[in-house]
């Protein structure tokens, strides 16, 4: 009887190694693309640089981040919440304070949301393309002589993303609490102002951004081998999958709105504009 070997279970180490080299077809030019492939990297660089510039200024300026009872409001900037330092303006801090910290309290906390966004799979794509040019656009040559990607230090650190995600959830809870507090107008009562809506919108978008995160999708259910053996985790995974498909949109919108929220609170706290009471 002839035995037929199953190719799927064959132990075969005798195959020829991958042939490297060879002449590549096409001209030696960085790209043959004729469309405006450079536009997306330019827009990304412009927006991210503007945001980093604004956030740095806002973090160091250390004033006008809280509109408190003297204005009959309870609005705090997301860049300064939770306000943990002893130097926080009265009313801004609802938590134990760190007494030795004398510079801007924003610098105590911003590493966490910053780390979450820096290690986010979407932002990685965005800044690898636009800042690092690896590659600037699809089928456009990257600008590096050698390339090891995220397989070596320092980019190996990107794998810490899930821990920043956990911290991000804590911040979301705190910013949601801030949004609830914004319904209270000291000396007037409970009501809704434009500031209340801005803080609520900011909290909602931050939740959407966090819950649509790839690490969240993995931890909630993606990591299991069998969905049928884990029906609840499958349900979570199924709920998060459509959100995950919109992760890029949530990343951008939440970035805009967090800056807008800080700007709004700043303008109200400095007296530049009045926080209009709706009802």
């Amino acid at each position: 009887m002839t035995t037929v070997e199953n190719p799927a279970t064959r132990v075969d180490n005798s195959h020829t190694p991958v042939v490297l080299g060879g002449t590549r077809g096409g001209p030696d030019v960085p790209t043959l693309r004729k469309d405006r492939w450079w536009l997306a990297p330019v827009i990304t660089v412009t927006i991210l640089t503007s945001f980093v510039g604004y956030a740095t200024w806002a973090a160091f300026v250390n004033k006008n981040y809280f509109a408190g009872s003297w204005m009959h409001r309870d609005l705090i900037s997301p860049f300064y919440s939770p306000c943990l330092a002893a130097s926080c303006v009265p009313g801004a801090s609802h938590s134990p304070v760190i007494s030795f910290w004398t510079i801007s309290p924003a610098l105590l906390i911003l590493i966490f949301p910053l780390g979450f966004r820096m290690t986010c799979y979407y932002y990685r794509r965005a800044y690898y393309r636009s800042f690092w040019w690896a590659p600037p656009a699809c089928s456009v040559s990257d600008s590096h002589k050698s390339y090891s990607g995220e397989s070596k230090f320092p980019l190996l650190i990107q794998n810490v993303h899930r821990y920043f995600f956990y911290f991000g959830l804590v911040f979301n809870v705190i910013l949601t609490y801030d949004a609830v507090l914004a319904f209270n107008q000291p000396g007037i009562g409970v009501g809704v102002t434009v500031g209340t809506l801005v803080l609520c919108l900011n909290a909602c978008l931050l939740w959407l951004y966090s819950l649509s995160c790839h690490a969240c999708r993995h931890l909630c259910g993606g990591q299991v081998k069998s969905f049928s053996a884990h029906p609840i985790r499958h349900k979570f995974w199924k709920m998060l999958t459509p959100l995950n498909a919109k992760h890029m949109q949530f990343a951008w919108v939440s970035l805009f709105v967090v800056a807008l929220t800080d700007m709004y609170v700043r303008l109200v706290a400095s007296g530049t504009i009045t926080d209009f009471r709706l009802f």
Binding site: A8, T9, V19, G21, R124, C138, S139, D142, S148
Partner: protein, 259 residues
């Protein structure tokens, strides 16, 4: 009706150049139709690999105006009107002749994937739930056109990485196996150490060019990266494994094929 002006790369391993062909435009044509008319009229020796003309065999992959596309699925009227159309072979692979490339790199990578390894067959046969079957269906749509491999800058721009990088097409295969409830192997260390998963910087070009619209990055590569984090970079997961006395397979162990 106006003409189609096409610059087609002609050449072989010794070098090549663009040649210009001007062909009367016809309604509803795809780029492969024009290539065939060039073969029929001006250049009978123009080499081009094709088969189904329906976007299902993955043979006619090439680059149109610098982007990896299937020649048979790119309609002429979707390209900028009045502009010259450039057609070149896939950039990541060695050219054999004209638009035909040697894609054997991919077959070598395919041979490195440790095969599906189910547990011993139980009485009554293997059973899988529909939700588990559906999970891998997306990955089975791959037609092996290798455009995702072609566009991936890890090998497109760095020939030296070819010996240590499987590429997006095979990451979806690894992901499919890792997500298979009946597979008993553990390829996480293998994809990290020898298949170069860490070199992927998730720029999503593979997803952009996939003619089957497989979400390669979101549904295969990132889940694989997260599984690698579970295995190698997450101290809480490591502690969990220790407490529950679970082990993971090394790259060498994962490569051992079942009898």
């Amino acid at each position: 009706m106006s003409d189609v002006v096409m610059h087609v790369w002609r050449g072989d391993a010794d070098g090549g150049q663009f040649e210009e062909y001007t062909i009367p435009k016809q309604d509803g044509e795809v780029v492969l139709d024009v290539i065939h008319r060039i073969q029929a009229t001006e250049a009978p020796d123009l080499a081009c690999r094709w088969n189904c003309k329906a976007g299902k065999c993955g043979s006619c992959s090439a680059e149109i105006n610098g982007k990896p596309r299937l020649l048979c699925m790119t309609r002429i009227d979707t390209l900028p009107e009045g502009e010259t159309i450039t057609v070149t072979p896939m950039r990541a692979f060695p050219v054999i002749r004209d638009l035909v490339t040697d894609v054997s790199f991919n077959y070598e990578q395919a041979r490195k994937v440790p095969a599906f390894n189910p547990p011993p067959r139980p009485e009554g046969g293997y059973r899988m739930s529909q939700i588990d079957v559906e999970r891998g269906q997306e990955f089975r749509k791959c037609i092996e056109c290798f455009m995702c491999q072609d566009v991936c800058h890890v090998i497109r721009d760095h020939e030296e990485n070819k010996s240590r990088y499987a590429g997006p097409r095979f990451f979806i295969r690894y992901a499919e196996l890792e997500m298979h409830p009946l597979d008993t192997n553990d390829r996480r260390d293998l994809v990290r150490e020898e298949m170069g998963l860490g070199m992927c910087n998730i720029t999503k070009c593979c997803t952009e060019v996939c003619p089957e619209h497989i979400k390669i990055t979101d549904n295969a590569i990132i889940p694989l990266k997260e599984r690698v984090v579970d295995a190698d970079y997450d101290p809480i997961a490591w502690l969990g494994r220790k407490i529950r006395r679970r082990t993971k397979r090394t790259a060498a162990e994962a490569k051992v094929q079942p009898d």
